[in-house]
């Protein structure tokens, strides 16, 4: 049985791509494929965590030792394929 992957998504209220990334990853979370943790840089706690982790741009996705700054839909799709394919293996 494949272990559910812990995925972190860094977001911010003014970010246009964050909502789309959040919606896509929430689907995987609901399907039980991943366990999603959202870190909003709109909160002091989220900023402190992001600062410590060196995250300065949103949306950014992180899992295992992999970090992807999402620059557009193609990056999001790439991450989704990675997450889904690991589960189907």
């Amino acid at each position: 049985m494949t272990k559910v992957k812990n995925v972190e998504l860094f977001t911010h209220p003014i970010c246009s791509g964050c909502q789309e990334a959040l919606a896509a990853l929430r689907k995987l979370d609901k399907s039980g494929i991943i366990q999603l943790s959202v870190k909003s840089l709109g909160t002091a706690e989220g900023r402190k965590y992001a600062d410590a982790e060196g995250i300065t741009s949103v949306p950014t996705v992180r899992f295992d030792h992999y970090t992807e700054v999402l620059m557009g839909k193609s990056d999001l799709n790439k991450v989704l394929v990675m997450l889904e394919s690991e589960i189907s293996e």
Binding site: P13, I14, G17, V58, K73
Partner: protein, 160 residues
């Protein structure tokens, strides 16, 4: 490039720290202006940019609105720092206002202006110190970024 609380402050620019406006000087004395990284984060996603027609092809007095920027919860002008003439407006912002957020010092410039006299705005270390002082205080923005203010840089998706 210097950063204060993750807010980028490029060297070589002049800053009106209180109003979050930057200016780049050209050899002919003209300046390009836009809003700073702090400004774009504080007001949130810019949805509309407009330019008053009354300023077209005539001299404007100090403190007149040269452009109006509008986000979901904020409307604010960029004002003439001195008397002068508007040389150009960044009309790309009419269709792509989000450029102000994505590239505040680049494609997000707002107004090219010829002031009658040089600006006495802060530059370099003085501007950085002023921003450090300002950002050390409790901050209230309309974009959901409060207290411990920290600039954010959002990536481009489909809107530009």
């Amino acid at each position: 490039m210097v950063s204060v609380k993750n807010c980028l402050l490029p060297e070589g620019l002049l800053y009106d720290v209180d109003n979050d406006v930057w200016a780049k000087e050209f050899l002919d004395g003209s300046i390009k202006m836009g809003i700073t990284d702090v400004g774009q984060t504080a007001v949130g996603k810019i949805r509309y940019v407009s330019f008053p027609k009354s300023n077209q092809d005539r001299k404007v007095q100090p403190n007149k609105s040269l452009a109006l920027l509008e986000s979901a919860k904020w409307v604010g002008p960029i004002r003439s720092p001195e008397a002068g003439i508007v040389l150009a407006r960044n009309e790309e912002l009419l269709e792509h206002p989000l450029l102000v957020n994505l590239e505040p010092y680049g494609k997000g410039w707002v107004i090219h202006f010829m002031p009658d006299k040089p600006l006495n705005w802060l530059r370099e270390e003085a501007a950085i110190e002023a921003y450090k002082k300002r950002l050390s205080r409790t901050f209230r923005s309309v974009a959901g970024v409060n207290d411990d203010f920290w600039c954010i840089h959002c990536n481009d998706w489909d809107e530009v």
